[in-house]
Amino acid sequence: MLEQYVPIGIMMLFAVAFGIVLVNINRWIGPRRPSTEKLSTYESGMEPVRTARERFSVKFYLVAMLFIVFDLEIVFLYPWAVVFRELETAGIVGMGVFLIVLSIGFLYEWKKGAMDWH
């Protein structure tokens, strides 16, 4: 009865073996000349382990805050788009008001130079 599952079993064996081979083939056939640089974790060129008590520019906070505004906008827009047809005119007007208010905020931060990095 289980015979009809044999092909799937073979397939799974192959998949596992293939995975193991691919992951390790580098280690088996590649040359190994380790150095500190090579063994350290790759963090986009940053030092991976440092002291956490460090000052960094307030500009980053500003970017984060600007990001949150538009992130929230998306959070509202997606569910709105899903039920857009049922909401009819009230939905369009409501979202319109929301977007206008948001745009005023956007205009404000733009004009006040929150977008300038320097």
Binding site: A90, V93, G94, V101, I104, L107, Y108, K111
Partner: protein, 474 residues
């Protein structure tokens, strides 16, 4: 469910102030040197909102699918918040000039806080209440730290923010538990289920947590620790606005949720409220005696006034509720007035804020000293000024409800408060020193002070003008 144009009209005051706030922000964005313009736009907008609220006070009902109440109670409080916002705006103009913080954003934040307060007073649903509360609180956090270069101001903002966020956690958890035990966030339904529900621990814990959050906002002992530091560190006009508008808003929501019906149904809540009230009166008044800074004294007195006002909530009857509404409008004018006089004398490096600085003021600045004395008399509850009738009605309510001991504590503590309020009057009139520097007061600020002074006297002599309006709500 749909949102119609009628809803926008029905909630007129909220709509007007929101739009004016956006206009202020746009003006601030597209023009340079906008301080004068934004100030006048705010004043016009608040006056307009006050007129709208006053004319539509008869149209009681709900809007936005039963989420927001309109007319009556909501509009009465809208008028109170507009008065608070208006007086603060007028007083702020010369003060923020002196402090070098004259930006259009100040008025924008002030207007947004007014919108938040109006939403709190108009809430028919706990979600709207929470929305309004957060709108008000977040703007207050920013306004408290508006003097960016001064350490005390930053400290005030951070303390207020951290503790306020903590209190909000309690509040939200309370709302969640209330929803869990009653299955609704509609305030009216929650209150009406209180008598159908069997004794329900979840419901009680929910109410308790909600009360903690609200007690923090009204500055009742033992949730008062933030008050002195925040009021002292914030710009003086902002302290005045926070202590009046913020307190009025918190009490408007407290009266909606802990309405007389609920308090009478749920015995333990009444007991807890009575203890909060008594503690606030005692601690606030006793600590206020030993203060040397007038601003700090006013902060502790604000705690004490929260205690008097809570007496009306404990009473849970018509006189108590009427008393709170009257008290709040009286407190708004007299306390903004007191902070306003302080703001005119405060020098740039936060000098001239202690009792001793005011010695002999009456001979040098008779008008300002007279107004300050007026506000002090009213705050201590001496007839015939507005403060007296507020206290009178809440204490009468407490006696009617069988809480005579609470009324006695209140009266005794009012006597204690006379000491520190009148100390200032004595120093101003019976001491010769007069070293205080020249006050900076614009004609706009002076107008606001005179309006407050006139209102304090008017409300004290003709309390029926307001009481007749209030009587229709219940």
């Amino acid at each position: 469910m749909s949102i119609s144009f009628q809803d926008v009209i029905a909630t007129g005051p909220i709509t007007v102030v929101s739009i004016v706030a956006l206009v202020v922000l746009i003006v601030e964005t597209i023009r340079d040197k906008t301080e004068l313009l934004t100030c006048w736009i705010s004043i016009t907008g608040l006056v307009l909102a006050m007129i709208v609220a006053f004319t539509s006070i008869e149209n009681t009902g709900t809007a936005y699918s039963g989420m927001v109440n309109t007319g009556g109670y909501a509009n009465f409080f809208a008028v109170v918040f507009c008065i608070a916002g208006l007086l603060s705006t007028m007083l702020s103009k010369s003060y923020i000039q002196k402090e070098n913080i004259e930006h259009g954003e100040y008025y924008f934040l002030l207007l947004l806080a007014v919108v938040g307060m109006m939403l709190m007073a108009a809430a028919a649903d706990l979600i709207i209440f929470f929305l309004g509360l957060e709108l008000m609180s977040v703007t207050f956090y920013v306004m408290a730290g508006f003097v960016r270069k001064r350490q005390a101001s930053n400290e005030a903002a951070l303390k207020y923010f951290l503790l306020g966020a903590f209190a909000t956690g309690f509040l939200l958890y309370g709302i969640a538990l209330l929803y869990g035990s009653t299955g609704t966030t509609n305030i009216e339904s929650i209150i009406s289920r209180a008598d159908i529900l069997p004794p329900n621990t979840t419901f009680l814990i929910g109410l308790g947590l909600l009360l903690i959050g609200l007690a923090f906002k009204v500055a009742a002992v033992p949730f008062h620790m933030w008050v002195p530091d925040v009021y002292e560190g914030s710009p003086t006009t902002v302290s005045g606005f926070m202590s009046t508008g913020g307190k009025a808003a918190a009490f408007s929501a407290l009266l909606l949720i802990f309405a007389p019906k609920l308090v009478n149904l749920v015995g333990p809540i009444q007991e807890v409220l009575a203890v909060l009230s008594a503690l606030s009166m005692i601690v606030g008044n006793v600590i206020a005696i030993s203060q040397t800074s007038i601003k700090r004294m006013l902060a502790y007195s604000s705690i004490a006034h929260a205690g008097y006002l809570l007496t009306g909530v404990v009473a849970a009857n018509a006189s108590g509720t009427k008393g709170i509404l009257f008290y709040l409008i009286a407190y708004t004018v007299m306390n903004i007035g007191a902070f306003g006089v302080l703001s005119t004398f405060e020098s740039k490096d936060r000098q001239n804020l202690t009792f001793d600085d005011y010695a002999g003021l009456s001979s040098k600045k008779p008008v300002l000293a007279g107004l300050m004395a007026l506000f002090m008399f009213s705050l201590s509850g001496i007839p015939p000024f507005a403060g007296f009738f507020g206290k009178y009605y809440v204490f009468v309510g407490a006696v009617e409800a069988g809480y005579t001991w609470l009324a006695i504590v209140g009266v005794l503590m009012s006597v204690v408060s006379v000491y520190y309020y009148l100390r200032l009057v004595v120093l101003m009139y019976f001491k010769e020193q007069a070293v205080i520097s020249e006050p900076t007061v614009s004609s706009l600020g002076l107008t606001a002070l005179v309006i407050s002074g006139v209102a304090v006297v008017e409300l004290g002599i003709f309390p029926s003008t307001v009481l007749n309006i209030i009587a229709n709500f219940f």
